[in-house]
Symmetry: C2
Subunit: 330 residues, 2 copies
Amino acid sequence: MEQTYKNAGVDIRAGEETVKKIKGFAKSTFNENVLSDLGLFGGFFELKKDNYSEPVLVSSVDGVGTKLKVAIAMELHSTIGQDLVNHCVNDIAVCGAKPLFFLDYLAFGKLNPETASSIVEGFSIACKQNGCALIGGETAEMPGVYQKDDYDLSGTIVGVVEKKEVIDGKKIAKGDVLIGFQSNGLHTNGYSLARKVLENFSFEQKFDELELSLGNELLRVHKSYLNLISHLKKDVEIHGLSHITGGGIIGNTKRIIPEGLSLKINWDAWKVPNLFKLIQKTGNISDEEMREVFNIGIGLIAVVSKSEIDKVIETAKTLGETAILLGEVI
Amino acid sequence: MEQTYKNAGVDIRAGEETVKKIKGFAKSTFNENVLSDLGLFGGFFELKKDNYSEPVLVSSVDGVGTKLKVAIAMELHSTIGQDLVNHCVNDIAVCGAKPLFFLDYLAFGKLNPETASSIVEGFSIACKQNGCALIGGETAEMPGVYQKDDYDLSGTIVGVVEKKEVIDGKKIAKGDVLIGFQSNGLHTNGYSLARKVLENFSFEQKFDELELSLGNELLRVHKSYLNLISHLKKDVEIHGLSHITGGGIIGNTKRIIPEGLSLKINWDAWKVPNLFKLIQKTGNISDEEMREVFNIGIGLIAVVSKSEIDKVIETAKTLGETAILLGEVI
């Protein structure tokens, strides 16, 4: 029998159709610094050097973990791309950087142009919200690696910060305080545990203590803290910022704490949101495990000296955010 | 029963062990522009602006397709990372850019620190060979998305080129010639078809017409053309460069050909390597399909005016490469 790429599971035409569908989404994110059209081998982004004195490029790569299994099960692919962009944006924003551009990798068992298009639309929405350009991507069809309707996605963001404005925790000192800001759900961490614990419920199920259906609660879009961080940088002397992802409050904040210092957290300083409580109760999960796996309600932590507390509270308030004093550096 | 992340299939300790193992590999690629240690939220790369007049960042993201199924089947994980880096490097080198830094994404069904470490060692080897720093990565454990021993990987590279030295095909004119340079195997494309066609052979099988066993032929590391391209840029006026990946010689070279122009290829200008012939014969694959799916022996194409041919041949020769005149722009 004559063999073709298509009967080996790779449909070049579906690939071309996908590229056509997603080009518009990517282009909608372009700004005057993007020099290339899509379809070339690389994406071109001009760094106007006169705008910087000592530019440092800050980059980060991430995925969304098994949150995508929830998206796939619910056939809702429009927000998972936003999750990924916001996750990446937060990771460089906590370093003090402003995002410049984003590139995505999408791999399917069987490439579905509609699904791919929904996901990429999500990338473009979040890219525009965060002022960054979607300048490249790779869409792969990989039969045998992914189940037919399964896919995975990863994204890389590149941003820029002035060397003297890098936030890396080096200024953190004993006595500094930790101020937390609320997450709006699981963000993109802990889904393998959450899904396991909740496997006997339907995603359509409603709970008295949750606003949306279980599935929609789980799919709430990972919040971008870029705007909040931009304001905090202007108003406050920030010693460190921590994005609470896998590893939880301690695991992530420890990444920026200088050697010899440690963290004291007041775990009662905020109300753990009901979704986390539901997961904990259903799975009979220990407090310790919950704190390591999930953000349990805190998505961002700023480390500042005590004298800055009021300014942080004030800035947060003007943005509709609540600043929660949740611990100190010891 | 008390649930934990670990019994949900995510082993945070295996993650930590992996990070420990791979830190050294990443660090071995660092240069004076890398300002961060691993473990922060982002990777920091200083762009010394005085070294550039109008810097354009060129980036590309890629995977290795189902070549990794061969690596997994053969339990040889040390070269797949090199494939990925070299693929990415070529994609920006054909735009005229020099690589600065690379970030990887690795996702496993069940995280195996040994395997992850082998893969990342591969990244670091190729990063050093291409003079770029491995400044970030994400390693994810995603039970239920990937089979236990399966994984996927993607990588993003960022490089830089002076605006006036960007190679984007705009100078290509009617009468220009296409000069091809040899690939050293399938590189990273067409593996789903190759695997399907060859599924009745063992990867250990030897063929008279192949130097190595079938599996080792399939795993030959995607060649980096960075050095060749750097020399060509110095010696020759290049109108366009094309990296031959999925889509083949025509599909990829068309990406840089200005509208209204077309390609005429002399398909007899070079000898198609035996591995491709074996695949074609075994699978009864049409010439047309072979040319669209595989590089069939040509990994890089330079488009130059006729007057530059001798210089290209000469430069290639000094590097031990053969320049093959394989077509023209019509």
